[in-house]
């Protein structure tokens, strides 16, 4: 796909007026589909099952990955690209999970990508109608990485259910940008892009809230372990999270410590190109 012909041309006079308005940034988005050979930033898309990740993915990349109204539809990760401003982004749609603590394959795929894939930005799509349960995952992602944008999706459904969700309050409590969205209607997609761009370029640096475990014994054990981890892997961005995983006896993190995979996270390496794109399989079903 050539970059030029993918830009939507405004046709009406109102649209033309909008395009010149500084608030309008739609023209900055070019959907690249699966054409993403060189990229400046990698964006991971995480969230609970059935919150609209694939809808957001399709809206940003222009791909038509099949979206279904049922949890667990995406079990392999799908990748696509888009151009925003002058930066090329690779977007990775992760399997929907409720948590990153458990051991099923889909949770491990999601966790490993956020941790070892080192995406520039991780977008967590949360369901505004089921905020409490969705925040479990968002809080866990915020433990792993600072560079998070929260997409507060399904705001239209929340409204129909008579729920008011205060996105500013949420942003303050989480310490990360929160974008209210109704992705099925295309609402909030532009604001999400802007937030992703700001976090990716460093214009916005989230300072996420860390979970306080309110458990002196546990916290002192974590503190001890964090000191040792920082000694063994100077510069590791999420020593506290690794300490918690090791205390929990997480075998895959123990393995990563032993074989040096974790050590690689201390250097700022360019993200590895993903080996294959699994879109074909998903498209058939």
């Amino acid at each position: 796909m050539s970059v030029d012909n993918a830009v939507t041309q405004p046709t009406t006079s109102i649209a033309a007026g909008c395009a010149t308005c500084p608030m309008y940034n739609g023209a900055q988005l070019t959907r690249l589909g699966i054409n993403m050979t060189d990229w400046d930033f990698v964006v991971a898309l995480a969230g609970n099952p059935n919150t609209g990740k694939s809808t957001v993915f399709n809206a940003l990349t222009g791909l038509r990955q099949h979206t279904g109204n049922w949890p667990g539809k995406t079990v392999v990760r799908a990748e696509g690209g888009f151009l925003y401003g002058d930066k090329r982004y690779k977007l990775v749609d992760l399997p929907g999970t409720y948590s990153l603590l458990s051991t099923s394959v889909d949770e491990e795929v999601a966790r490993d990508f956020i941790l070892f894939g080192q995406p520039t930005v991780t977008v967590v799509i949360v369901d505004a109608t089921r905020l409490e349960r969705n925040l479990n995952l968002a809080l866990q992602v915020l433990e792993i990485t600072d560079r998070v944008v929260i997409g507060l999706n399904l705001m239209d459904e929340a409204k129909r259910h008579g729920l008011q969700v205060d996105d500013r309050r949420l942003a303050r409590d989480l310490g990360a940008p929160v974008v209210p969205m109704a992705a099925r209607q295309g609402e909030g997609v532009q604001a999400l892009l802007k937030a992703i761009h700001e976090v990716a370029t460093g214009a916005c640096a989230p300072r996420p809230r860390r979970i306080n475990h309110r458990d002196p014994q546990l916290e002192s054990a974590v503190a001890q372990l964090v000191r040792q981890i920082e000694f063994a892997f100077p510069g590791l961005p999420n020593a506290r999270w690794v300490a918690l995983r090791l205390l929990d006896g997480d075998e895959s993190i123990e393995r990563a410590v032993r074989d040096g995979t974790l050590g690689q996270l201390t250097q700022t390496v360019a993200p590895q190109p993903a080996p294959t794109i699994h879109l074909e399989l998903e498209a058939v079903n």
Partner: protein
């Protein structure tokens, strides 16, 4: 570095013992507490809860113990009835266009170009015919079936199916999520096998992988719909024909669910014994489907992709069929020899040699079974049955019926057993490869391939024997 990491893991182990053994629960509890606190500050509830009530009322019917299964049956019937009744006319138009006019025109073209007979035979009678048949037979039902199925999916009905089936799967010693992977298999078994990744326990995942084959995939729906229409439906009075046809397809699909449960129960009591895991299934809200977008994407993403796959498989298969029926060893073509070799076995299970040979040719893709059967019946079937070789190209349903009964010697039993064989037989090569990729285990890949095949032969042998004993054939 190495010393550091060992020390680190040691002290983690030591600290874990000091803190106590319920760390995981404590961590989870504090995450939940935090999430609850933040959510309660951000969300306020106002107004009535009318939408929740609508969902709840609908769920009370669709997932009720009494009405859940009847509702499922009615919805499936509706989908297949619309497919069968709606596909009839476009199917006939496509046959006229591609098989009657297109075929004659291509032969005329070949004649004016003075193309050698073997070349026009290979390309027109082989490659073109197989491809045209695939399009004529598959496109109309798929263009109706997939959008309808996708609309149900978009609406949020599929998790309700899983919910209804969960109790049964639990009783069969399998994971409730297997109902979801089974539903996924109704699109494509390879995708269904990949979807079993959502099942944590390796034991239950293997059961789900092995039994996914009994979810009828894209490639097999057309076979069932065609058999249901031209044999089962045609046996009923005309005004009931499309209902009976739809009913027979639904019956085979439901039989697939029964077989899935029986095989799961068998596996979980023999080779794959173990505990049944519990899990929580979220029933998503019903969402009004976006009709036009769904129709557009399901035609582009499903119908055309599946059709394209069928065409790319049919073209070489057409060449193979033409070559094997035109290369002679002694006084008989290769296909003729294969078919006569397989014929006794085929007849024993109520099928025939042509059908079994077609299933061998169609190992890469189930989509091409029916076109292969038709081509083989018209080229080599005549040698077996002794009927006149007929060049009948304009194929509507009645004519397919005539070819199969008069040239191929088919009966109602042949059609029924073909439907059963189609449901039960081994997965296609893509799925087998996917099973190998997911399990990396030769034994289980072999089990997942041969167990269904054995079951297909056993069941069709039993129905054929019963039919013979009762004097039906």
């Amino acid at each position: 570095m190495a010393i550091n990491t060992d020390q680190l893991l040691d002290s983690a182990r030591r600290l874990r013992a000091e803190v106590g053994d319920n760390i995981h629960d404590r961590l989870t509890a504090s995450i939940y507490a935090e999430a609850e606190q933040i959510a309660s500050r951000a969300v306020t509830q106002s107004g009535q809860r009318s939408r929740f009530d609508f969902d709840r009322t609908l769920d009370r019917i669709l997932t009720s113990k009494t009405w859940g299964f009847p509702a499922m049956f009615v919805l499936l019937m509706g989908v297949f009835w619309l497919t069968i009744a709606g596909a009839n006319i476009p199917s006939q138009m496509l046959s006229t266009l591609l098989l009657d006019w297109g075929y004659a025109w291509l032969h005329q073209l070949a004649a004016t170009l003075n193309a050698p007979a073997w070349l026009s035979g290979l390309l027109i009678d082989g490659v073109y015919m197989a491809t045209a048949w695939v399009i004529a037979v598959m496109l109309p039902p798929m263009a109706i079936f997939f959008p309808l199925f996708t609309l149900l999916e978009d609406f949020g009905y599929l998790p309700r199916v899983a919910f209804n089936l969960d109790r049964l799967f639990h009783r069969a010693g399998a994971h409730g999520k297997q109902a979801l992977t089974m539903v996924m298999g109704y699109g494509c078994n390879a995708a269904g096998v990949v979807a079993t990744r959502i099942i944590e326990s390796p034991r239950e995942r293997l059961i789900a992988i092995i039994t996914n084959n009994f979810s009828i995939c894209n490639g097999r729906w057309p076979t069932l719909i065609l058999m249901g229409t031209i044999f089962i439906g045609a046996a009923a009075p005309p005004f009931l024909a499309s209902f009976v046809a739809a009913g027979s397809v639904v019956a085979v699909a439901l039989l697939g669910v029964v077989v899935t449960l029986l095989v799961s129960a068998f596996l979980s009591r023999t080779w794959l014994k173990g505990e049944t895991s519990t899990f929580s299934l979220e029933l998503p809200p019903y969402r009004p489907p976006r009709v036009w977008q769904t129709i557009y994407t399901s035609i582009i993403d499903r119908t055309l992709i599946v059709l394209w796959r069928a065409i790319t498989m049919a073209a070489p298969a057409g060449a193979v069929i033409w070559l094997s029926s035109n290369i002679y060893i002694g006084d008989m073509s290769i296909a003729g020899r294969m078919v006569s070799l397989l014929n006794p076995l085929g007849l024993l299970i109520g099928l025939n040699g042509v059908i079994l040979f077609a299933y061998i040719v169609a190992i890469p893709a189930n989509e091409i079974v029916v076109p292969t059967i038709l081509m083989l019946t018209m080229t080599v079937g005549t040698h077996i049955t002794g009927a006149q070789p007929g060049v009948m190209l304009e194929l509507d349903d009645a004519q397919i019926h005539t070819i199969l009964t008069q040239v191929g010697g088919w009966t109602l039993l042949t059609a029924m057993n073909l439907m059963l064989f189609s449901l039960l037989h081994n997965p296609c090569s893509t799925t087998i490869l996917t099973i190998w990729n997911e399990t990396k285990n030769r034994k289980w890949t072999a089990v997942a391939t041969l167990l269904p095949l054995g079951l297909a032969f056993t069941v069709t042998f039993i129905t054929a024997s019963v039919a013979r004993l009762l004097g039906w054939v």
